[in-house]
């Protein structure tokens, strides 16, 4: 005797909402109908370094050996101007997300320890924060793009976005005959957009290469490749093949200039006009950020206190370095015939207390966003706003003036507790 069954919805209105929220299909469909969302091959195989230019989000897809440009629209970019990021008067930022991997795990049905956060970028016009992540730790990890909307993490359905793709081809050093062997896996470490062009750097596990790719956007399929030699003070000779880990482009004395940091960690400046296809050029090393250290990110920002333009370099093993662009413009290349120098030396700028930060980008002139371990519980990875130019959150620090009954030299207590 057959019974009749249906879904356990509390109301038909809820049934419609549940059914349409995920796949946008009709309320009930016979089992014979295949799920449409599974049929299309995903454009993105992995999601690493990300970068915005206007409404275009560039995603470094190392597994796909490509850069994907997603055109984002109003459904993804929501104005965040009314979201309060903290209180500058008291040097207090705001914890925007308490535990980003846990939130992405909840949205994708995975434990938090299966989520890795790969990069953060901010859409300038709306201040919308976007993160790239992987769900899963194995070779079948699924790329995830998510946005933070009014403090809430939401998935971006990237498979449904309009996208164009630039294939990177074989890693430059392996462009020679490969005899059918697959190219070594090339990991994109950074993408920068400047004036209609992308600058893409990366590292391969099987060679130690300093090639920078320059790609016009909109994509034409063309790219130019430049090998950059750098003088490495730590090594007291030419370091020819250190990989670029991160770079930014800034106008230095009016000249568009690539400012790049390499693994173990020279700071190099190269005028963009030098970066032509096939060129093997010599970057001017102007600083050595120290031995036993790897840069994570570099970006340009304006210091609202004095109006100066700067770059900030974050590091794995040291404090961040804030370096005024004028000092970069004025710096003499480091001497090549000096004895060994174990750094820091040359131009290093000013230390900034940013250790532990995994990813960082600017939200606006006054705030940056950092993805970092929670200072009180490092198993949680939080999204935190930090005040520019100090990149500092007073609440993180166990200083005496944070305690009741102690001195209040800066008058912080005239403000009520920050309750956002």
């Amino acid at each position: 005797m057959p019974y009749t069954m249906t879904a356990k919805f509390h109301s038909s209105r809820q049934a419609i909402r549940l059914a349409t929220s995920l796949f946008g299909l009709s309320v009930l469909t016979a089992i014979a109908a295949p799920a449409a969302a599974q049929s299309a091959a995903p454009v993105l195989k992995s999601a690493g370094a990300i970068e915005f230019s206007d409404d275009v989000l560039f995603v470094g897809d190392s597994a796909g050996n490509q850069v994907v440009a997603f055109q984002l629209g109003a459904e993804t970019l929501t104005d965040q101007a009314n979201y309060q990021l903290g209180r500058p008067q008291t040097f207090e930022g705001r914890t925007i997300v308490e535990d980003l991997p846990a939130d992405i795990g909840r949205l994708t049905g995975a434990p938090a320890d299966q989520i890795t956060i790969n990069d953060v970028a901010v859409h300038a016009a709306t201040q919308q924060i976007v993160v790239s992540a992987h769900r899963g730790l194995g070779p079948d990890a699924v790329p995830v793009l998510a946005r933070i909307n009014d403090g809430a993490v939401e998935l971006i359905d990237h498979a449904g976005l309009s996208a164009t793709v630039h294939a990177l081809g074989a890693p430059p050093a392996q462009a020679a005959l490969e005899f059918g062997q697959p190219a070594a896996f090339y990991t994109i470490t950074d993408i920068d957009h400047y004036n209609g062009e992308l600058f893409v750097s990366g590292v391969s596990g099987e060679d130690f290469d300093s090639t920078l790719r320059r790609i016009a956007y909109p994509f034409t399929g063309e790219q130019s490749e430049t090998q950059i030699e750098i003088w490495h003070a730590v090594h007291a000779q030419w370091e020819t093949r250190a990989p670029i880990i991160s770079q930014t482009i800034a106008e230095v004395d009016g000249v568009p200039t690539l400012v790049a940091v390499y693994a173990c960690t020279p700071l190099v400046r190269i005028p963009l006009s030098d970066l032509t296809d096939g060129a093997q050029i010599r970057g001017e090393m102007i600083g050595e950020l120290g031995y036993g250290n790897t840069p994570i990110d570099i970006f340009a920002y304006n210091n609202p206190m004095d109006g100066s333009d700067n770059v900030l370099v974050t590091n794995t093993n040291r404090s961040a370095n804030a370096i005024p662009l004028q000092l970069i413009a004025d710096a003499e290349p480091m001497a090549v015939d000096v004895p060994n120098n174990f750094g820091p030396a040359g131009l290093t700028g000013f230390p900034v207390p940013l250790s532990g930060v995994q990813h960082i980008d600017l939200i606006n002139d006054n705030w940056a966003v950092a993805v970092r371990p929670d200072p009180k519980d490092p198993t949680r990875i939080q999204v935190q706003s930090l005040l520019v130019p100090f990149f500092f959150n007073r609440a993180d620090h166990m200083v005496e003036m944070n305690w009741p009954g102690t001195a209040d030299p800066f008058g912080y207590r005239q403000f009520p507790p920050l309750d956002l």
């Binding site: 009749t4 016979a30 590292v203």
Partner: protein, 358 residues
Amino acid sequence: MLSLRQKWKVALLATFLPLATLSEQTLAQEARANESGDRIWVTNLDVTEVGHGAVEATLADGGRLKLEPVEATDADPAGALVFVPRFPLSIGAEYTLHLNGLGLALPLERSASRTGLTKVAAILPEQVTLPANTLRMYVTFDQPMARGNVMRHISLFDGDGRQIENAFLNLGIELWNAEQTQLTLLFDPGRLKLGVRPNTTHGAPFDEGQTYRLVVHDQMRAADGQTLSESFELMFTVGPAERRPIDVAAWQLSEPPTESLEPLVVEFARVMDPALSRRTVALINADGGPLAGTWASMGSSMVFTPSAPWSAEATPYLFVAPHAEDIAGNRTCGAFDVETRTEAQCDEPVLRPIKFGS
């Protein structure tokens, strides 16, 4: 088997959305996933229609995963309802599958294909003596590994059993191949380069004449979420640094007789990079195409076995690509360590004709 309460609920809700049928049940329902976690089977549930949004898998910490019904194929278990999750199930995570219309909540886990625990296949190069300026080593595994836990589980010890701190370059990213079965360990070039003798706490990782032990600990996690079956270690002795460019003319080549299938043995007289050599050393015809045959790496030598007898009619060439490197990063066009402003551009392969013996 449906309880009376479930049957009651079904009957009640059916009056509002009567779109599916359910037969009398006699066996307990069960939910299973395939190995890749992207196909879910529910057995012993005789339902012919399911509502979209009616099925989801949840985790104890609040994780939610929507599932969609799909048509069963011959590859699916007979009689099973088939669902596809929006994301594959995570290995090792304990889900609860909710069939909301029935009030059913079934335990669900991704069934890993257990061919045994993952183990280290090899640490390369396998030579017992490596140059003091060895730039990288490779760890290969017999099954895919998880990202994100390398630095915690791989250690280098000196001959006295003391761990060498910060021996590897911390790039912030892990250098895996696409299958995540081969990991590159880069020694910090800042500690290897000629002339670098920093202070006592940060010396070069290797001292000539000393013995070292590279250990991959069994707590390292594989992609299936399990730890390794056992720890693995490679002991090696460090010899003089190799700071000369690769000299292909100095390689010893055997002279196989023509019309034979005798292998060609190429002795490098140094430790070549074992991963890169697979892609950068080849035998080619005069027209540039690869010679048919198989290469085997024997450490400091490679052996080529032709699939057709050697022909006296055409001279094959040993081809060494410009980016071929030894284990210390030296190339044919120049050493990794070069004097100021002497670096050559590496874009020409080296070709060496093969001689035949009698």
